[in-house]
Symmetry: C2
Subunit: 582 residues, 2 copies
């Protein structure tokens, strides 16, 4: 037996017990006549003590020789510390060691095993197994387990069944790029790894399973942006005999449950706003509503004077920065420069200071009088002491630009508190989006999403205007989930494929099995998929997902610890009837 | 809202309630003036009634027009049935329908949606979404969810953390064949899909996570025997600071928990027998101990006469078939023919009838007297009325042959009751096995398994004799899990690789990251992996796993429903710098 207790559980109530602990040498202090060692395991740290008066010479010598990260086993008596440490739960006691055994030695680690380490990202990834020893990583993995286990508990409680769908499926050119897997037994043929279990979960609904969920790995072979992984984890769910409200209420319940049990935060009914409204009010379909600064539309009250920039713009919109009148001219200029960067691409900002005395001072005083400015203040909800920032241009661009500025200012002003949680639903997404490159419509969500049923006719005449029964769950400015009511009628599904530019043959080749299934009594159904990696990170107050993944890949899709991907033997290629092109 | 209740929950206590149900038309009976419909969903069946006196003409007509598997929504009143069905929970009530809406129509299904269906395997797989509607499949998927959710509950309760390990890893030629995944971003390089998360879970132990589990998809590109799937699910576990007993006790606890909560079966402490003993007593390393018939070794009491077949054999062993004296000569001959088939490959069986009067009658009376036969009876534990079956030959073969005969007879005699559960541990497996083909040792479990530490010297002199700290969990004659205490010392790991014929370079190339990890304070650790697919099937009293997998592949590794694997486009191959060989 390697231990009677772990390193985190001994307390003053255990005084005088004979205990055996195992763990890693975290730190040691050698005062000559006395040696203290912090022994660490997953559960905590316990202090070991060796001293001349009470320990044998050999034992002290052995203790002094221990290096950092040595794995040891000790037996000893729990005694009261003379100087207590109130910062840790085991801080009132220490172990007077009578027996010490080295279980394994350790080279000096390439970086310190501390919350704040001196190791850079690359080094940490190469020695990820040491990185995980650091509390700041270890706690995140434990946190992830807590979240996923609460998700399962909640969904199982609502009769959702965890069903495993296959990993080796069929490649479909629609959507993102598939990872493919050559089949040896079926020479020249390939499986694909799933980008999501979408069609399978729909088939499970056709199969009558009624409520399905799965926490499942999905795969996308895309060029990786920062914080995107080629393999990621999805909480995938589907329900039968539901309308949109049923789905929203169910997963609002799940999110509330997580916030309550994991963060002890109680959130009221989530706001639900339409996609069009979200874009108009926040310039984003994933608005951060922890803070206000909603857009005011100023066209009617700003295009009546000689200011040509506004007059020629499709849209003039402004936001009110609370207490923004405190900004110096230099600070305002900084934001103007910020929006002019190519990433944002705006021309500039018109600003209006709302003075404490009720007057206004703007960068366009030449064109507008105090009454105009007062109107703008009213429309942007600006009060005395605030600052109004106004941008203009073509509708889509200016909304995006002001939306990004809004978030940037929210961040600067500390309005994006990671321990505050502001979830909402964004609904009524457009069904289709026009793709300039291919000169055709793409599905905004996916090809199985149901259009609003009262807009079916519009789908024939003006497809771009059709809204979908599609919704996103947004938390603190991040999309953490998206879903839709699906098409369950084969005629509507055919119409949809047609709008997406599929020939009948193509549709049949790629999704024939689903079209077939729809012939045999498919029930109305819908669902959602939440990104677990991101959900966990945000619940834990972070936006970066990497440290919530035990063994993440870098931005080139590489695992530098195991050196994957790597070359394979010619034999392996031969067996698969493949050859490498030069 | 599609329903107020599901089809399985209404009871006599709901009388007179107005309810809305949705589901599938399972059956309908049309008596002209009255129509009954069985409405089915996942939760059960409710009877709908339409009749001339109480329903409108249109409604009756619509009801009569409904086809099987139509999806409908009905509203009506819960009334008491005149003739009750005590076989189903909803059998006391029916719904007098006032409103009927067709949600979707259905073509006539290609096979009947009943527990006993007329659909063959191929047809059922092609229309798996209809197959799943049958209770006999649906219930198995629900059962699987129940098992996996109890596993999670139990392991989480013991502080095991669910950690997701990567799916895109590195190919290692050791062991079975990998599925590989070409990397587009790293041209000419390949990922592999994991055959198990073995090295990652060991790294998590090096990382201090202490207790890990994961219910995880694993992949093996092997020629498929019946009931093997290219992707399968493993309950993968690892623990630090444990010896073999700690692991066995923990997973014995898990298995007991499952038997108790899922099957309401209480099992005492599991027997633990060594591999050598299992082979000697049952001729198998996964003995079915629901019944006895243990081998008796007869060499010393059967090689003293002129019977040359026994005298020239390396081993003579027998089993006693309880009440086997009732077998007719014809039945005995059938077993003799059975063991002579090439699959078993034996020469024959010597038998001894144990008469009720205490005398014996054998097929070798010419050579042996009553006293000899009485000795054999004693050694095989045969009583009056039993039948002793004896086989001889070289040790390994005869044990295997008699082992198979033992199971065959157990099956015939009804001693393999699927609702009886007899788990046991088989321990002390050999570390290595000799492979004739490659003329080298292979790892019996895997290269990371620790030899018995007191046999390290033997590893240098006589590796084939060394036993490992490796164990299997066996249930009803099936291996449902296997594991080992791992090597955590880099020197022993090097020695092991050497014994397996790895050059230092090869070992470093393939497992360098693990060897590196062992330099930085790897703790003693060990674990186990259980096959979920099989565990679930056996707990449910079945041996075939296919119906416990929602979308299984056939024996050619094909999913015939979605038609995978399939061809991919030249563009996809080009992007991956691959070409197909003719």
């Amino acid at each position: 037996m390697y231990r009677t207790h772990n390193c985190g559980e001994l307390r003053i109530s255990d005084l005088n017990k004979k205990v055996t602990l195992s763990g890693w040498v975290h730190k040691s202090r050698d005062k000559g006549f006395m040696v203290w060692i912090d022994l660490r395991d997953r559960y905590g740290v316990s202090q070991l003590i060796f001293d001349e008066k009470r320990s044998s010479k050999d034992l002290i010598k052995n203790a002094k020789d221990l290096g950092r990260e040595y794995v040891i086993q000790v037996t000893g008596k729990v005694i009261e510390r003379s100087s207590k440490n109130t910062n840790i739960p085991t801080g009132e006691i220490e172990i007077l060691v009578s027996d010490l055994k080295i279980l394994n030695s350790s080279k000096v680690p390439p970086f310190t095993i501390e919350n704040k380490t001196d190791g850079g990202e690359e080094l940490r990834m190469k020695y990820r197994y040491l990185d995980i020893r650091r509390n700041s990583i270890k706690d995140k993995l434990i946190f992830r387990n807590k979240v996923s286990s609460e998700i399962r508990k909640y969904l199982n409680g609502l009769n959702f069944i965890d069903v495993e769908t296959p990993c080796l499926i069929k490649s479909t050119p629609e959507g993102a790029r598939d990872f493919i897997v050559p089949s040896r037994m079926n020479s020249g043929k390939f499986y694909a790894l799933p980008q999501s279990p979408q069609t399978f979960k729909q088939l499970l609904m056709v199969g009558g399973l009624d409520r399905y969920f799965q926490i499942v790995k999905c795969f996308r072979d895309e060029d990786l942006r920062a914080d995107r992984q080629p393999e990621f984890t999805q909480i995938d769910c589907e329900m039968s005999f539901v309308n949109q409200d049923d789905v929203l209420n169910t997963f609002e319940g799940l999110t509330k449950h997580l916030l309550k049990t994991i963060k002890n935060v109680k959130v009221d009914k989530f706001p639900r706003i339409t996609y069009d409204n979200a874009i108009a009010k926040y310039g984003s379909d994933k608005p951060d509503i922890r803070f206000s600064m909603e857009f005011g539309e100023l066209n009617s009250i700003s295009q009546h004077k000689d200011f040509n920039i506004f007059n020629s713009a499709e849209l003039v919109i402004g936001i009110s920065v609370p207490k923004g009148n405190d900004f110096t001219r230099k600070e305002i200029d900084k934001y103007i420069a910020w929006v002019k960067r190519p990433q944002i691409g705006a021309n500039g900002i018109v600003y209006v200071r709302c003075n404490e005395d009720g007057t206004y001072k703007s960068s366009v005083d030449k064109f507008y009088d105090q009454k105009d400015l007062a109107n703008w203040a009213k429309t942007t909800n600006a009060n005395k002491g605030d600052l109004i920032l106004i941008m203009s241009g073509d509708k889509d661009n200016v909304r995006r630009q002001l939306g990004e500025l809004r978030v940037e200012i929210g961040e600067t002003l500390g309005l994006r508190n990671p321990n505050e949680f502001a979830p909402l639903w964004v609904t009524d997404f457009p069904l289709l989006k026009w793709d300039e490159e291919s000169n055709s419509y793409h599905a905004m969500h996916h090809p199985f999403t149901s259009p609003k049923l009262d807009q079916i006719d519009l789908l024939k005449s003006n497809p771009g205007e059709v809204k979908a029964n599609a919704y996103d769950l947004v938390l603190n400015g991040n999309e953490i989930g998206g879903g839709s009511i699906r098409i369950h009628d084969k005629n509507i599904q055919s119409l949809m494929f047609k709008n997406l530019g599929f020939s009948e043959k193509q549709a049949k080749e790629q999704f024939g099995f689903l079209m077939n299934a729809f012939e045999y009594g498919a029930p109305p159904h819908g669902g959602i998929a939440l990104g677990l990696d991101r959900l966990v990170a945000i619940l834990d107050g972070n936006e970066s997902i990497k440290d919530y993944i035990a063994f993440p890949k870098n931005n080139s899709g590489k695992d530098i610890m195991i050196d994957a991907p790597s070359s394979i033997s010619k034999d392996q290629l031969d067996e698969l009837s493949l050859s490498l092109k030069k």
